[in-house]
């Protein structure tokens, strides 16, 4: 066979394999969506339509709104806390820096259930005054901070210190330099952190499940789980799960269209 033919076959196989694996990864999502639009009519026949989505609107939408609000608040806190911390870790040298960073990293690697359990112990025993919405937010902020930290560190490393030095020599104080020079340059990197925290906190489920007890808040994913354990696999549950995934997907697609994958590539993507 000619080399060009082998190359063509190689390309075909390559694309085919990657496509096959991608489809396989998307199977749960597709199954959920299909199930969500397949429902049975009163006379017993099965049909396809969007009825399940409308039916769940009333009861489900408040939960979605709660999840969205939690995600947004968590993002705001983590951005405010994470950017200065990342700046300190990248631009300054001080003893114990490595150890500190490793310690902060550890937060991310503890399995969800362990973290969740430890939180309710703490909430019932120590933080009795911090229950409710803000208790929830505090826990989420602590849990996801590392994500913002990692993306910001990558963003700061992208930006050459010579811009900040230049601004300083031109007469700008630290604050002016930070807001007028550093922030615009790390902006895109920070946006990657915002995206990741949104997607992960909006859909977070284990910690929310356990935090439901002290804070009495039920987020959307927890609602889905409760329904599943109660009623197995109805189209309504599928619709709820599909709605959450579709919202996440929409946010991801919009982000990728505007910013692309560049800033996710030091953190979660290759």
């Amino acid at each position: 066979m000619k080399p060009k033919d082998t190359e063509r076959i190689g390309q075909f196989v390559s694309y085919g394999y990657v496509l096959a694996v991608s489809v396989f990864l998307l199977v749960p999502f597709m199954v959920t969506v299909i199930r969500s639009v397949t429902y049975s009519l009163p006379d017993g026949t099965t049909t396809v339509g969007l009825k399940p989505y409308f039916d769940i609107m009333g009861s489900f939408w408040p939960k979605v709104y709660l999840s969205l609000s939690i995600a947004v608040t968590t993002i705001m806190i983590d951005t405010a806390v994470g950017i200065p911390a990342a700046y300190a870790l990248v631009r300054y040298a001080f003893p114990g820096k490595r150890a500190l960073y490793t310690l902060l990293n550890g937060v991310w690697y503890v399995p969800g259930i362990c973290y969740a359990l430890s939180l309710i112990l703490a909430y019932y025993f120590l933080y009795k005054w911090a229950l409710g919405y803000w208790g929830f937010i505090a826990a989420y902020s602590a849990g996801f901070l590392l994500l913002m930290l990692m993306t910001c560190i990558v963003a700061f490393k992208y930006v050459d210190p010579c811009y900040e030095e230049s601004a300083s020599c031109l007469g700008a104080g630290r604050l002016t330099t930070f807001f007028k020079v550093t922030m615009p340059l790390i902006g895109p990197g920070v946006s990657a952190g915002i995206l990741l925290i949104f997607v992960l906190s909006f859909n977070e489920f284990i910690t929310a499940l356990l935090l439901n007890l002290p804070t009495k808040l039920m987020t959307a994913p927890v609602r889905v789980f409760a329904e599943i354990t109660r009623a197995r696999a109805t189209p309504y549950i599928a619709a709820e799960a599909a709605v959450l995934q579709l919202i996440s997907l929409a946010v991801v697609v919009v982000y990728l269209k505007i910013v692309g994958t560049k800033y996710l590539r030091g953190v979660v993507l290759v």
Partner: protein
């Protein structure tokens, strides 16, 4: 119109002395250059003068004010970097306005100053360009405009032409000199390019391995190198390692013996008989004496080993008693020695500089 003085400044990283007890002075409106190879500490010294790096030892003065503990944004300096540091997210006008805004200059003044600055670097039409649309040379000019707009007391340029093409470099260095003369600002300039330093500086500090080897005007450095490093770094040199054979203290002359070659030269103060010295003689200072003309004590025999024609120069490699010396011939004489080999010649090594120590 400010005098810069760095007194015994040092910067030590762990066990490495990046800069050690360096003293540098730039007088009013003087163009001072720090010259040296990579890693010698010249950029570090400049950054200490700017305040970008904290000084470990020593003090920095602008006129008579001690600015050692003053942060860079309060020192009123104009720092130009090696890499283009124009803010990529702002166009040219906003870049230049940045420093003015930081100093709270009123809006009307800002517009005027931007035009003035661009006029000095002859780039008036580039106000609305983005940095990504500028070539290397253009970007560097805009950076100069940006620092000039803020009317700094001193100019500190860190190898600004390193990343520019050779031809443009030639043009730009004279432009920089012209701007400095016209604005009258004191300049401390850093470069590793000896030709560049010589072309535009009033005085040069030659640094190596964290210390200053020698300070002087280009002529002084060229004619009277005081350390083996300077002799080797500035221009080309032949090095004859040997010792002082005899010395006439009253006239300051003596003879140096090196591997079978005897050289009569002026010996600097402080050296005595037997001291290890290096005799440096530049290839263009070696004279080939015609057959008949020979003065006692100054003729050295040699044999031409190779002859290379370089256009405006003919370079000869000659063997003088085991040591290979480089001889450069300029002018019409150079044509007489083309493709010559194994010819015996007599040279005069009169214009030798003797320095203490051995150059390896």
């Amino acid at each position: 119109m400010t005098r810069i003085l760095a007194k015994d400044v040092s910067k030590i990283y762990g066990n490495t002395k990046a800069v050690y007890r360096v003293s540098l002075e730039a007088r009013d409106s003087e163009f001072v250059t720090i010259l040296g190879p990579s890693g010698c500490g010249k950029s570090t010294t400049l950054r200490m003068i700017a305040g970008l790096i904290r000084v470990d030892e020593g003090r920095v003065f602008f006129d008579d004010e001690d600015v050692t503990d003053v942060p860079p944004n309060k020192r009123n300096i104009g720092f130009v970097f090696q890499r283009v540091a124009l803010f990529p997210h702002m166009n040219v006008r906003k870049n230049i306005a940045f420093g003015l805004k930081a100093r709270h200059v009123p809006e009307r003044e800002i517009r005027k100053k931007i035009k003035q600055a661009l006029a000095i670097v002859r780039m008036e039409d580039y106000e609305n360009r983005a940095p990504s649309q500028l070539s290397g040379g253009q970007a560097q000019r805009i950076e100069i405009a940006r620092v000039l707009a803020t009317d700094p007391d001193v100019l500190l340029f860190d190898e600004p032409l390193s990343n520019i093409d050779a031809k443009l470099r030639d043009e730009l260095k004279f432009e920089i000199r012209k701007i400095q003369r016209e604005t009258g600002k004191t300049m401390v300039y850093v470069t590793h390019d000896q030709g560049e330093a010589f072309a535009i500086s009033d005085r040069i500090y030659v640094m190596s391995q964290g210390i200053v080897d020698q300070v002087g005007t280009p002529t002084e450095l060229y004619m009277d190198p005081s350390t083996p490093f300077v002799a080797g770094f500035i221009g080309q040199n032949n090095f004859l390692v040997g010792h002082i054979e005899s010395l006439n203290s009253s006239s300051g002359t003596g003879t140096v013996h090196s591997d079978g070659i005897e050289i009569r030269a002026h010996v600097p103060d402080g050296l005595k008989c037997g001291d290890k010295v290096t005799a440096c003689i530049r290839p263009e200072d070696i004279e080939i004496l015609p057959e008949g003309k020979r003065e006692p004590g100054e003729a050295t025999k040699a044999r031409i080993v190779e002859s290379i024609f370089l256009g405006n120069t003919t370079r000869l490699h000659v063997d003088a008693g085991g040591t290979i010396l480089k001889v450069d011939l300029r002018g019409p004489e150079r044509f007489s020695y083309l493709k010559v080999k194994d010819k015996e010649i007599i040279m005069s090594l009169k214009k030798c500089t003797v320095i203490r120590g051995h150059q390896t």
